[in-house]
Amino acid sequence: MFGIFRRRRSKDELKERLKLVLTYDRAKLSPGSMEDLKRELLAVIKKHFPAADAEYDVRVEQQGERMVLIANLPVRGA
């Protein structure tokens, strides 16, 4: 019986996927070009911070009417 409550509801996953894909759609961006952007950003960061690691997070996010690029780039590993 408790399995029912532990199971991740499929609509939650759909909602997350939709929000992400619509952010890209609205920004007229392809998820692939975001991957390129991430790689290039990391290359630039590494030039200045050689210890920067690959654990980075770059994404576009809808904030009200605005679309913002959020980058979280650790410059020193843990």
Binding site: I4, R9, S10, L14, R17, L18, D25, R26
Partner: protein, 270 residues
């Protein structure tokens, strides 16, 4: 809605545009409005069969556009509701026969000279010229969406295009909601869809087998009385009243099931 010319659209095909046009159009007419429903899906017309008027089509929208008949001659009067009319799409032509300027002129004539209170424009699927022509004459839009991934994504795209056209009133109809799946967490809830798409709601239509039965015989379900508070027929009637500015509360969409189903839920069955 203040809009007199309302395009019914969705982006994705098969989500219920034509059914919505027929049912909301019929319900508006039943409420006393003089209504014209226009099928702009040239080459793939279906509004005529959904309304059971296929036997009466003589002239169509493209005949009007190209001057082969007068607008009045192409208006097909409904057999059940006096103030309801259909302007059929041409079945033998394609979307290249459409024209934004002629579309605007036709809608203007219906509203300003022929005394229509409301024109509902059934858009073809897609975002190309057919949709663009259907939207060109509209000052309001009903976006029909099913609570599933491709329909929501396409609806978002269509909403963007309607906003680019600066259509003042864009409203959302969530069609084919399945309350038992929502309860299980396997279907987006109404609030999820509204949060994702960010437009105002005007109707929630539950999945209802009676829709198929009614289209089989060409009789819009919204014209049949009854069906209970939670039925597609009454949902379409509610939408018509909301379009007319009435504040109609939404019924609770509880999963169906009688006493036994209730007992099963009570004792922890899935």
């Amino acid at each position: 809605m203040n809009a007199k010319a309302i395009v019914v659209t969705s982006g994705k095909g098969g989500v219920g545009k034509t059914t919505t046009t027929a049912n909301v159009g019929a319900a508006l007419a039943r409420l006393g409005e003089k209504v014209c429903v226009i099928d702009t899906d040239v080459g793939l017309r279906n509004l005529d069969v959904v309304m059971g008027l296929e036997g009466r089509v003589v002239y169509d929208l493209i005949d009007v556009f190209e001057g082969r008949c007068k607008l009045k001659q192409a208006l097909i009067r409904d057999k059940r509701v006096e103030s309801l009319y259909l302007l059929a799409a041409s079945q033998t032509r394609d979307k290249t026969a459409l024209s934004e300027s002629r579309m605007k002129e036709t809608v203007r004539t219906l509203l300003e000279e022929e005394g229509f209170d409301r024109v509902l424009i059934d858009s073809p699927a897609g975002i190309e010229s057919g949709f663009q022509t259907a939207a060109s004459a509209a000052d309001g839009a009903l976006v029909v969406v099913n609570p599933e991934v491709s329909s929501v994504r396409d609806a978002d795209r269509i909403i963007g295009l309607l906003e680019a056209r600066e259509i003042p009133e864009v409203r959302l109809i969530i069609n084919r909601l399945r309350p038992e799946m929502v309860k299980r967490g396997d279907m987006l809830e109404v609030d999820d869809v509204l949060e994702i798409l960010g437009v105002k709601l005007i109707g929630i239509v539950p999945e209802d087998e009676k829709i198929i039965v009614s289209t089989n015989v060409g009789n819009p379900l919204s014209l049949e009385d009854g069906g209970g508070k939670v039925s597609a027929g009454s949902a379409f009637r509610d939408i018509a009243r909301r379009i007319r500015g009435e504040d109609v509360p939404y019924p609770r969409f509880e999963p169906q099931g009688g006493f036994l189903a209730g007992l099963r839920r009570l004792f922890g069955g899935a």
